[in-house]
Symmetry: C2
């Protein structure tokens, strides 16, 4: 196969198509409580997993695996693991912030009909991976890209997603029989939603505000000193 045979015109996006991509990006939320019990059909679930599988991956390593958890029994066990870690987490905050923390719902493990654990197999594709020679975390970053693809695809399907990060990994690994050499990257809750927050939930609830974008942008170098 010659190189030219696989290059093709770049298929420009219409304004409506472009707007749809931005709609997914700007209205995506980290959902913890708005899940409906409606089951996710197999074909929809497959489109979401295909979206994740089409993420960029370093050296085309595709280091991810997807563990789909649907049974109430397993979701109950995982919720207990969350709950124990979350009590540890709450105690790290002080005074008013701890009360505020305890008032937030931070997961939808039992309410969302589908849970999904996404892992990274750090040994997939051999020892030396193109593009991972100088940053060994690139495989984990690829897996995060898969999660973000899935998140946006879910939004477009009317499905909300929440990322639960408050776990002791050993608890999850033990419950899900995940081998020691496999790294858990994300634990996700998925379900149809008919309502979403209009702004990030943590902002809506007064936890923290969006930063002004212009303060985060530098030109040519990190925060150049103003000449005096």
């Amino acid at each position: 196969m010659t190189e030219t045979s696989v290059l093709a015109p770049a298929q420009p996006f219409t304004k409506d198509e472009r707007d749809a991509v931005y709609k997914a990006i700007h209205t995506r939320r980290d959902v913890r409580d708005q899940f409906l019990p409606t089951p996710i059909p197999e074909d929809v679930q497959n489109r979401l997993l295909e979206a994740a599988h089409h993420a960029p991956s370093v050296g085309f390593m595709q280091p991810w695996n997807f563990i789909i958890i649907r049974t109430q029994q397993m979701r109950d066990k995982i919720w207990k693991a969350f709950s124990s870690a979350n009590e540890e987490a709450a105690q790290m905050f002080e005074g008013d912030q701890q009360s505020k923390y305890r008032s937030l719902k931070l997961e939808g493990i039992r309410k969302a009909p589908v849970n999904l654990c996404i892992t990274c197999d750090r040994s997939r594709g051999g020892k030396v991976i193109l593009g991972r020679t100088h940053n060994t975390n690139m495989d984990v970053y690829s897996t995060v890209c898969a999660i973000q693809n899935l998140w946006l695809a879910a939004r477009a399907e009317g499905i909300g997603m929440g990322w639960v990060s408050i776990f002791n990994d050993d608890d999850l690994k033990s419950l899900l029989d995940i081998p020691p050499n496999i790294e858990i990257v994300g634990y996700l809750c998925l379900g149809y939603v008919d309502e979403l927050y209009q702004e990030p939930e943590l902002q809506a609830k007064g936890w923290r505000k969006r930063l002004p974008l212009e303060d985060l942008i530098f030109q040519e170098k990190w925060k150049p000193e103003v000449p005096t």
Copy 2:
């Protein structure tokens, strides 16, 4: 502000809108050579950065910064840093694989009119961050989500993007005056494209094939043993 005042109907996507999101996901490429010299207008660049800034972030931490690099002088210096790291990388491969590696173009630093270094400030928002109490890398993962948002938005704008990961971080930090406590997450090349690979470039060039998705999916637990 009450909780109900910020929940709103979830704005369903039409089939066309959904298809547009999937088009971005499935036709996105890691671009190394198809960049056109056409400048990226300020308003388009701002839409891309807004897309990144609307990524999910742990505890709404928004740990990212964006260093925009446009001057030829800086891009030349950064290319030299890449080039030196890439020679180290090539030597990690053996025999035929090394020749094949050397034949691949792995960056567009000098060809793409805009380069972008995205960093993670691990101390932003204080010491204890909601959701990062048990996985301290969640802030870096948030930053990767910002990169993937930007990548898909770029695709929708007709802009190709490539992620260059073959650097010694100290070289980049020194060239860009990045403080020690700030972590470089991604170095990106951006420019308009009129052609794209129809499949991932590393597959088109015979480096590695796409894995069958069905082999990567497990139910309830990691690869359950078949009962004997």
